[in-house]
Assembly symmetry: C2
């Protein structure tokens, strides 16, 4: 018997996740080697500043400040891109793929913005691109979609993909606390970035939705092609109203495919979910994904969506798959070019085909006839009212009017909003939320 | 370009699941071929009676009554064993593995009883054994454990693995209905077998627990080495008491590993779960698994645990992996002999190391001093009482006494039960349930 085969890994980026990967690979070395039959060895690590003091001890000889030198190092078949951003990360990823390497990435923004180029480059040069850690952290949702549920087509996938937003929404719901206050505390506790906009405005969720939509439908949808709305306009009153109606509020990515029309819709927005819905009961920094397949029915997954350890768990799973691929052969389900189903020419659904019930909160003048004015605007666009809640005035002369609608569509509600804004009795930008009346 | 490579599949067993596999393979042929780059073709089907009328139309020339002829047919590299039972199914499985084939199985009883022999045979003859459909139906939990969470060791895995039991318990809880009545209705609706004992006595769950324990810990635990208790002694009163205490009741498989002591515990029993626990909120025929990894934290999976379509989804995923394996190479994570971690010589935990809180329901004589007698028996075994509920008598002279304990262990509670049975004031076999105070 010869010794165990060793696969060298280059880590590009040594922040929180990179250090987690380093430490857990070291701690689980024996177990991984026994299971995989190969050894995973991190032999080079690219950092921004070699001289910086670090919590994790790492031999100085492994360090470099040039990640591109790792991407092109012939001694390194597996490159782990944990730099973040879409500039240097893209260069490193493409250089490694052009060298026929396996790239393991947690970079959803990169995939969303440059996915087609990455997959094309991998296919052309015999490289491979693994990205389990890019969506829903430690939950193996990528593997579930592309391998475990390969027998299925997916009429609906939805879920909570951003732990920061779910943390904020959970605290707003539980404590009846205003958004700004909870956000400030989340920043203090390290649950939100100093610049929170990528998370709270929905863009991070949109990047992840793009990845899932490609895996499930073979079509690339950029975030500028989606409805993307964030959570910053939600108020404690919205949570109270939702509770009265039997709902909670979650920021969801929703990916629906209408196979009859061959239309795909990818959207990100705060959603009222029935209290009994399992996703509505996933709280704090946890992520959750509900996947409805045409064969399996609805399956559900949850776990930590971010953080050092959960992300490292997913990165290491990809490193293990990468080592298997290199040692044993090239499984079809591991090949970038065939990991997604054919898109079958599906189109993005037009606004009038994107249907749901809606929740509309309006700050209106507190005088007679206001509801009639509003109702007539809605009727003009065939948006039918299902319920009305009028809450006590927050300021003198103002009332808060909350309407829910029967099923309508994005075109009709956009037209309704446009006309409502023109009414003198409507005193602030309306807040429109979608209801997610998903049975599971 | 040559034509698409075709892999022949032999279906052994053409009952509900076999017919589902046949139909969904046909319906998804084009999509699967596009994703996998190969064609899956069912070329032979073994049935018990060729002349029987079937709902699913299948060409008569494919049929045989001899599954062993499929197992040894050199034109068939993939054998799908859906016969059930452990006699003929074992022969077919071993014959196919000895011929170096890939066997896809949904047969948890077979794996539980003959797992070591099957895995050994596969390793010796270059065969492969896939069994995603054997546990939790359409939920890709096997793939999650052995690939997606490969970076982890697993201190705790627990879940609902039997849809029949969960259906019965859900209806008992929601309708305050007695066991016998709900069971009879479940049989009428086709949710329970004519002979229900495999399900309701916990053996089916135990078989599946054995599979999960092997995957997570590399150790084979037979069902006769586990605590296995079923649901038939539960009463509506138990659900009312549990609700008073803030709990629901689920039949769980619980697999815990104490890495410090190197001990493993696998058990199956009705469990009181806190109402907020996500597994406690999985109802009806659905299955759910909570997996705690030392890196990823707790992840959670749910979906349909049985039935034609969910099981077919899992079988087809295995067939796809089998085809990838045959076409592209032999990935380490697909090889039977290294799919589980080394057991590291772990032992089964002795009864005194299996700890939890307990729920004890006693039918006692309704007279003074009874509680004192019972409390003194418990004190003798150092089982400490946490709460007492005394319910109105169900028959004259009898009272129902419900105690919960602080944390104790299986040895102390077994000794307590033994002594309680000897008390004249205890008028029926005590009912002992475990509390699952899992934080997630």
């Amino acid at each position: 018997m010869t010794g165990t085969e060793v696969f060298n890994i280059g880590l590009c980026g040594f922040g929180t996740v990179g250090q987690g990967v380093w430490q857990h690979l070291a701690a689980h070395r024996a177990g991984l080697e026994a299971r995989l039959g190969v050894r995973l060895a991190v032999t080079r690590v690219a950092v921004r500043d070699r001289r910086k003091a670090r919590d994790v001890a790492i031999p100085a000889r492994l360090l470099t400040e040039d990640p591109l030198s790792i991407a092109t190092d012939p001694a390194i078949p597996i490159v782990c891109e944990l730099i973040g951003g879409t500039t240097l990360a893209r260069e490193v990823t493409l250089a490694a793929l052009r060298a026929g390497k396996v790239v393991v990435s947690a970079n959803k923004a990169l995939i969303c913005d440059h996915g087609p180029e990455i997959i094309r480059t991998a296919a052309r040069h015999g490289g491979h691109f693994f990205f389990e850690a890019s969506v829903a952290g430690g939950i193996p949702i990528i593997k579930a979609l592309r391998e475990g549920l390969v027998a299925n087509r997916f009429p609906r996938i939805y879920g909570i993909l951003n732990g920061t937003c779910n943390y904020i929404l959970t605290r707003m719901q539980e404590e009846n606390a205003p958004y700004a206050q909870v956000l400030a505390e989340a920043k203090r506790l390290g649950y939100a970035e100093a610049d929170e906009s990528l998370d709270v405005d929905g863009w991070d969720t949109a990047h992840k939705a793009s990845v899932l939509a490609w895996l499930a439908h073979g079509a690339w949808v950029r975030s500028d092609q989606m409805i993307v709305e964030g959570i910053s306009r939600l108020t404690p009153e919205d949570f109270r109203n939702a509770a009265l109606l039997g709902y909670g509020i979650k920021l969801l990515a929703v990916i629906t495919r209408d196979f009859a029309r061959n239309e795909l819709c990818v959207r990100v927005h705060p959603t009222l979910l029935p209290r009994g819905n399992v996703v509505a009961n996933v709280h704090g920094v946890f992520n959750a994904v509900s996947v409805t397949g045409d064969v399996v029915g609805t399956t559900f997954y949850s776990g930590r969506g971010a953080g050092r350890d959960a992300t490292a768990s997913a990165v290491i799973a990809d490193l293990a798959d990468a080592a298997s691929l290199l040692k044993y052969g090239k499984g079809a389900h591991l090949l970038g070019e065939v990991t997604a189903p054919p898109s079958s020419g599906c189109r993005l659904a037009p606004a009038e085909h994107i249907r749901s019930r809606y929740y509309l909160r309006l700050a209106v003048a507190d005088r007679p006839g206001v509801l009639a004015r509003i109702a007539s605007v809605m009727a003009r666009h065939h948006v039918s009212i299902a319920s009305v809640i009028q809450n006590p005035a927050t300021e003198p002369g103002l009332a808060s009017l909350v309407l829910t609608t029967h099923e309508s569509n994005e075109r009709a509600t956009a037209a309704t909003l446009r006309d409502l804004r023109r009414l003198a009795v409507v005193r602030a930008e309306p807040v429109l939320l979608r209801l997610g009346d998903f049975d599971s």
